[in-house]
Subunit: 335 residues, 2 copies
Amino acid sequence: MSDAVVTLADGAGGKASRRLVEGLFVEELRNPLLEPLEDAAVVAANGARIALTTDSYVVRPLRFPGGDIGELAVNGTVNDLAVSGAAPLALTAGFVIEEGFPRDELRALVASMAAAARAAGVAVAAGDTKVVERGAADGLYVTTAGIGLLDLRAVLGVDRVRAGDRLLLSGGIAEHGIAVMLARGNLALEVDVESDTAPLNGLAAELCSLGPELRWMRDPTRGGLATTLNELAAGAGLTVAFDEEAVPVREQVRAACEVLGIDPLTVANEGKLVAVVSAAAADEALAVVRAHPLGRDAALIGRLREDTEPLVLAQTPFGTRIVDMLVGDPLPRIC
Amino acid sequence: MSDAVVTLADGAGGKASRRLVEGLFVEELRNPLLEPLEDAAVVAANGARIALTTDSYVVRPLRFPGGDIGELAVNGTVNDLAVSGAAPLALTAGFVIEEGFPRDELRALVASMAAAARAAGVAVAAGDTKVVERGAADGLYVTTAGIGLLDLRAVLGVDRVRAGDRLLLSGGIAEHGIAVMLARGNLALEVDVESDTAPLNGLAAELCSLGPELRWMRDPTRGGLATTLNELAAGAGLTVAFDEEAVPVREQVRAACEVLGIDPLTVANEGKLVAVVSAAAADEALAVVRAHPLGRDAALIGRLREDTEPLVLAQTPFGTRIVDMLVGDPLPRIC
């Protein structure tokens, strides 16, 4: 594919996305609020520290086992605030709708959005609607933005991660991406997998109670856990070593990944959280997360260490392998 | 057109849009932050009062005389904050890009966004990019959201508008809509009209210096001045009576509207502001606005009064006519 045009891989959340963001968006928009490239920016407002984030949603199909674009658009933005250590205050939603879209379907998706917002304890405070001609969009696209108030108990940042810190994962991976793939119906797999879409603000707030022992959080969405861990390694300048067998993957998800020839580490999640905590607080962190309904399958999966170059290394029964970021886009329009 | 599906008119900013917003979005999302339906919601954050807004941009073509989608997306969101009486703090931008979109063109539009943000004194602090397949979008859609800090000198609201108050317009109308129409190139008009896209935060801040004498501000975008004045009349429960000859319209814009058979009152603006001020402060307000580069052609165009039912009435050389909101969509995808 020519480098002169934008490709599907540029939107997949992996290497090409990173290049597009760093080489084009950051270069042109350059400013100190944007440049940390965390899931949310932090803006000072009259003494308050406000987290600010946005995500566009183009998932296809609009409904899939376990969720729909409305629920996803709320939870995704709530989660970007949550892993930044912020309590969500309010969301906005911008809709681009294709002419001819059924009104009942639109109402149902907005109702789903409202239910997700209630579940997360946040309101959709402002919105906008644009309609484009038939053929100029694929049904409906939603862009949500959100603001949150930073939790002052925790000070999070990849620069706070230290060698010896531990890696905690809140539950099984790859469920969202596989659910959406299966919903497209072009696979004859007899498995029952639902998206894990869920609001992580409650769970994240529990982790913030660890104070400075909590270093960093992220939700491994597009590009999956592999991409998130590579961003962690690069940002911290440390090697991330984890035990692949300790990473929870539901049996049916694993089976679907095998049939599809996809590594579950590269598949999107929409209700999982990765945290780095100090070694001293690791057991307490695990207990805190396991006590939450969204963290029952949580596990300590690895640790950070000094190395000649920062890599992501998976320990397997057959030895150690280097885990790269997602390259290309095996699953376009997953969120 | 069937009522069962979304139509282009639903996105035009006029009557159908109002029905869609009130009958579907507000009904489903119902919450006290959203329900005032002003250009921005107000959220309390640790003592600070934060204005929050969003807009999606689907303008076609992406470039037009006087601007492009990048500049428009920044100015539009800055202006929604400005007319809410808030100083913009930061913006977010979500991009939905069609596969195959030229990278150079994307870079140029993002650079234009950056320049507009600098001109408005605000940063694009967070962003997101999604790529959809060829044919699933028309080049590029942008959704911006913005937060601002409320100017405590002014307390704005349609409920603060009183009979006897005066109506101030910051300059000539219909320039943006006509410029975009002409850029589509399917009209053989020999006129030279540029979009008025501009950031109104400086001008709005000047007006806020009037304190409580300033009652309400709005930027008449989609649906034009006619729609904004109808929203004012309905919200205030008062008749808006204005002198149609006092409304500035550039000669070439008026000529284009005549050829197209369009009322300039219904055409979108992207750098104009309507304000309601007390009668006592009207002359001072006019002087303040005229002293600003974006308000040189400002005029006091009318006043509010009690009436049996709230209407928008235009005084013309031939008598008085009722001005309705925009009905239908003569100019789809104008912003």
